[in-house]
Symmetry: C2
Subunit: 318 residues, 2 copies
């Protein structure tokens, strides 16, 4: 049986925090990351790729702001900015992947789908926006934007008089066009989808699709997509080769295998950092709870080396 894997590329896999963000940097990082997926294809896997968009959509939002100020161009809402980032990043991944496949003499179609993700308009996240987006403002600028656009702001911890817009991060409840993704992936086409967690939308009382001014966690969206298309394996590529218990704290310890019950226990005990590894672990857990065989969290450049990576499964293998 051909196996199906969904691979979530983290922000670092495309653009590192210590880089300026030029297209040359992004193309090189992307190529380096994609080289590590080749072994899956050589093993006969079908694959779906999803990706983050944090640095890119951050830049798009800042450019929106600057464009309005300098030229009076109306700003686009967050949903359009996320969709823009899916277009630009998806195209970049697709093009670099063509060239990687060519180098390895692998023939596969590669397709990028702009993807909406359905959220629940009553998700409790809407009452408590937590995800910071866009530029850092002064209090005065923030107050003005709150009056004009109804945006919410939170103070930055490390910046004096620094405020940033916060938006809700609701849970994804379905991936639009998942049947299309599945059919294409099962036929061997490499599908790039649900970038940046997807464009969050909800169905209103008339069943119309409306945009939610929110962002969805890309690992949760990827995990949901993986489960719904019947993937066997779900990979999260990040900047560490293992999940660690007590990361950056006394007793730090890498973990190679986790079963469901240990994963739940460690999560409850707060042994994974919120805002960092904990959401990735929850995404992995969601995947195996929905029937997936194995979730793996690893460093992009260590993916092909199976001694690295934390493997999360329902039961420990013997």
């Amino acid at each position: 049986m051909t196996k199906l894997a969904v691979i979530a590329l983290g922000g670092n896999a495309l653009l590192r925090g210590d880089q300026a963000g030029t297209i040359e940097e992004q193309e090189q990082n992307t190529t380096d990351t994609l080289e590590n997926l080749v072994f899956l294809l050589e093993d006969g896997y079908n694959i779906v790729i999803t990706h983050g968009n944090g640095p890119q959509v951050g830049n798009i939002l800042m450019r929106n702001d600057a464009g309005e100020e300098k030229f009076g161009i109306p700003q686009m809402p967050l949903d359009i900015c996320v969709a823009d980032s899916q277009g630009g990043i998806g195209y970049m991944i697709e093009r670099m992947l063509h060239n990687v496949l060519k180098r390895h003499n692998i023939r596969r179609d590669v397709v990028t789908l702009v993807t909406m993700v359905q959220v629940d308009k009553d998700d409790k996240a809407f009452a408590n926006p937590t995800k910071r987006v866009g530029k850092t403002c002064t209090r005065e600028e923030a107050d003005k934007l709150t009056r004009e656009k109804g945006w919410e702001f939170r103070e930055e911890v490390k910046v004096k008089d620094g405020w940033r817009r916060v938006v809700p991060s609701p849970e994804p409840i379905s991936i639009m066009n998942e049947n299309v993704v599945k059919a294409m992936a099962d036929s061997g086409t490499i599908v790039i989808a649900a970038g940046g967690g997807g464009v969050p939308v909800y169905f209103d009382e008339n069943n119309n699709v409306r945009p939610a001014e929110a962002v969805v966690d890309k690992d949760l969206a990827g995990s949901l997509l993986a489960a719904r298309i019947g993937a066997d394996e779900f990979y999260i590529l990040t900047d560490v080769p293992y999940v660690y218990l007590n990361f950056n704290r006394p007793g730090q310890k890498p973990v190679e295998f986790l079963d469901k019950s240990d994963t739940v226990r460690y999560l409850s005990a707060g042994m994974f950092a919120e805002g960092s590894m904990a959401p990735k672990i929850r995404a992995c857990l969601q995947f195996i709870e929905m029937g997936g065989q194995k979730s793996v969290i690893t460093e992009a450049f260590k993916l092909a080396d199976k001694k690295y990576g934390t493997k999360i499964t329902m039961e420990y293998e013997n």
Copy 2:
């Protein structure tokens, strides 16, 4: 036999020149335009939608400029900007179309593909850039950008000391993933593809896919796509209900039917304006020469009314 139609939405169908460009305006125009495609679906057609991106990618380029100036964010090259616009516009069309279909109780999947279009790197257009993009500069700014980035500029006719970047507009020679578009469209899925003429790319001497700093005419890309996927009909929706001979000149006359030989003859005689109707007519001609049955140029809001529109066919019907 189910018929397959490709519909190219012009810039005006999404955003009119007299509008500021807010998202509300774009969503309303898009919905109004899409309502006119419903009769095709009710007649059982399969459809593929392509669209322009002129105003949107213009705004993205200006925001890039303003974002670099205000925040030091590196500018993205033209290929990424076009791909961004495919994401944002494609998502908007897809979402509005969902709601239009819902209103008419039509069940179809709608999918947006980010699309590359192959051009010939030796296309003579590269030696003669003609397509104006981005903001209007002074001579001094233009000279600086030419030194720094190698961009070419042309003087604006109606603006004092106004210069704009010009990029090549090469001919599309193939649409990447046309087989995927065909398979999906033939199965009844509505596919949005090749937006903004597609992201132009070429194959280098090692067969790697490289971006071309260029833009492809969206009607030519749409017509090529239509022919290659075996569409029966190709529609260009614009802001006039007919093609006119001698438009805005003495002897102006609407034309309801054109066969190939008259079309070629009128084109040669310069009876259609270059930079306006002539490229649309060439796109229509390309479609019927490649085996399509009928090309139609009409106003978006007159599409359902068959007494409007200029129909171009190989031979006049009896």
